[in-house]
């Protein structure tokens, strides 16, 4: 069975911890689902099972960080971001403590868990806090790149990881990069969204529509300069993300680069989430590869979206 990114995170962290005694892990009683198990088994003396008490867990981690440790806090993204938002705001963001939050099972694809366990606006919450670094890796190489970047700095961070295991992406990891050749029509995506975009891109190519794919795992601080340079050559820009269309990558790019025209594809803001297979959910809500490709083809024919050079 393929590992989730959260498993890779726990595993890689336990490898990095050999050389860095400051690294420690806290978990909110989901270690066998959220990846913390790999660290817990290797470094039991540096692992704290904080119980089903996320608010306390985040603040405990902040106290540890203030004494020189590098705590990584594992749970589902929903419980970290929503249950502990005030603790993240005060103890991490305002207090500038280098705690990393590893949120698994984010986005809208929560399988049988359904709406309570998904995280549909977590990027909006985390990216709008001062001092937070936010990453939504698209594969294991991205994840490791993000982990090294976080450990090289001294700021709090949020790693947004999906429930579903992800295949490797082509090319070398970077905060923001083209996968394949740049084109006038471009899909911009992050995290699981990049895999949805790849599926749509393939269908569009087969239909004779060349579409570029710009993958942006670094959400905050947004690599606005790289994005701006890349998108300058593009005529039509679609953002595809496993997040509400408001408050995520599309909104952040639109805010940072007001002159671009973004067509956002994500979860509708009036949807709360529900149980179901990834395929059923994505298909029903228009984010399956075929639905995305069909919608994009239709939107490309609309004169409103034609040749919007930024």
């Amino acid at each position: 069975m393929m590992w989730r990114l959260a498993d890779h995170c726990g595993q890689h962290l336990s490898e990095l911890a050999v050389a860095d005694s400051r690294i420690c892990v806290l978990d909110g009683d989901l270690a066998d689902s959220d990846g913390a198990i790999h660290f817990a088994q290797r470094f039991p003396e540096r692992f704290t099972m904080a119980g089903i008490a996320e608010q306390c867990m985040v603040s405990v981690a902040a106290g540890m960080a203030s004494c020189g440790l590098k705590p990584w806090v594992f749970s589902f993204g929903a419980f970290l971001c929503y249950r502990s938002y005030d603790q993240i705001r005060v103890c991490l963001s305002q207090s500038r403590q280098p705690v990393t939050l590893v949120g698994s099972h984010t986005g809208g694809c929560s399988a049988r868990n359904g709406k309570t366990h998904g995280a549909l606006n977590d990027l909006a919450l985390m990216a709008s806090l001062p001092n937070m670094q936010v990453w939504a890796p698209g594969d294991t190489a991205d994840l490791k790149f993000a982990m090294h970047s976080i450990l090289g700095g001294d700021r709090p961070a949020y790693l947004r990881l999906p429930r579903r295991p992800l295949d490797a992406l082509a090319g070398e990891p970077a905060p923001c990069r083209w996968i394949g050749t740049p084109q006038l029509v471009t899909l911009v995506s992050t995290g699981l969204g990049t895999h949805l975009a790849l599926g749509a891109q393939e269908i569009l190519l087969r239909a004779g529509i060349p579409v570029g794919l710009l993958h942006c795992p670094q959400i905050a601080p947004l690599p606005a300069e790289i994005l701006s340079d890349a998108l300058r050559q593009c005529e039509t820009i679609f953002v595809i993300e496993d997040h509400y269309t408001f408050g995520g990558l599309a909104s952040l790019i639109q805010h940072a680069i007001p002159q671009v025209h973004i067509i956002a594809h994500g979860w509708a803001n009036d949807w709360s989430g529900q149980s179901g297979s990834d395929e059923d959910l994505l298909k029903h809500y228009g984010l399956g590869s075929e639905q995305l490709a069909a919608t994009i083809m239709r939107q490309l024919k609309s004169p409103v979206n034609a040749k919007r050079v930024c």
Partner: protein, 259 residues
């Protein structure tokens, strides 16, 4: 120091008289007689840690830190633009603040994290909470976790002044105390419990030292205090003086010992 606090709060337009005056003695005794710290090196990694979890009583902490030479900023700059004496203690603004507080209920968890991190080197962590603050669920999350791990160098101190900002003072047929059966609650959560007169300096010193002898479990000192201690006007109206502004006449009379 009580006069300094009252003068400074008046000068900066009012503030949390009641809680600052109730927490002052125990804060002073911790800093003067218990904490292993140095004003010359407020960020010494080897120091004991102190968290004022009830951050709205910041004026008391500032008065103590100034008295023991942590800084020379005037207390009257409290909460003014550009002053490191933020309205609630801010570790990014003022050396000597071990952790930022203000949003109630978080300090004990932070202190637990510090105590866990400092375990190998033996420093102690002291966290001062309000009784009203103990209504926050996170306090009890931390209480459970600290007891589970037997964190003996974590010490909580409750400023048990028996009032909160508004509380249930106007409610009929409801217990109006911020928290009932404090001692039983902490004890049931696995803490060693001490009780003391929160304005008796020698008793506070002895009790804090006894708490430091605790083995295998965290300890809590319940300090019986008076909201607004030292000023009859304030003691008599703890609801108004949780956070209040005095008229010039009231301030004059207060400082002349007439109120």
């Amino acid at each position: 120091m009580r006069s300094e606090i009252v003068e400074a709060l008046y000068a900066c337009g009012g503030g949390h008289y009641g809680g600052s005056l109730s927490v002052l003695d125990l804060t002073l005794i911790l800093y003067r007689r218990i904490l292993q710290i140095s004003a010359d090196n407020p960020r010494d990694p080897q120091r004991d840690r102190f968290i004022l979890s009830k951050g709205h009583s910041a004026m008391a902490l500032y008065a103590v830190l100034r008295r023991i030479f942590f800084f020379e900023y005037p207390l009257s700059s409290y909460g003014q633009f550009g002053s490191p004496l933020e309205g609630h203690p801010d570790m990014t603004a003022l050396p000597g603040i071990d952790f930022s507080t203000g949003s109630l209920g978080q300090g004990l968890s932070v202190g637990l994290g510090m105590a866990l991190a400092l375990h190998p080197t033996g420093q102690r962590t002291w966290v001062v909470l309000g009784d009203g603050e103990c209504q926050e669920g996170q306090v009890w999350e931390a209480a459970m976790l600290a007891a589970r791990y037997g964190v003996e160098r974590l010490h909580a101190v409750i400023d048990y002044n028996k009032f909160q900002e508004w509380g249930w003072s106007q409610s009929a047929n409801v217990n109006t105390q911020p928290l009932e059966n404090l001692s039983q609650k902490w004890s049931a959560f696995g803490w060693r419990v001490f009780e003391v007169d929160g304005h008796d300096h020698d008793a506070l010193t002895d009790t804090f030292r006894q708490a430091m002898e605790t083995k295998g479990q965290p300890s809590v000192v319940i300090a019986q205090t008076v909201k607004g201690k030292g000023f009859p006007l304030i003691e008599a109206d703890p609801i108004r003086f949780h956070c209040a502004t005095l008229s010039p006449e009231e301030h004059q009379q207060l400082t002349n010992g007439k109120l």
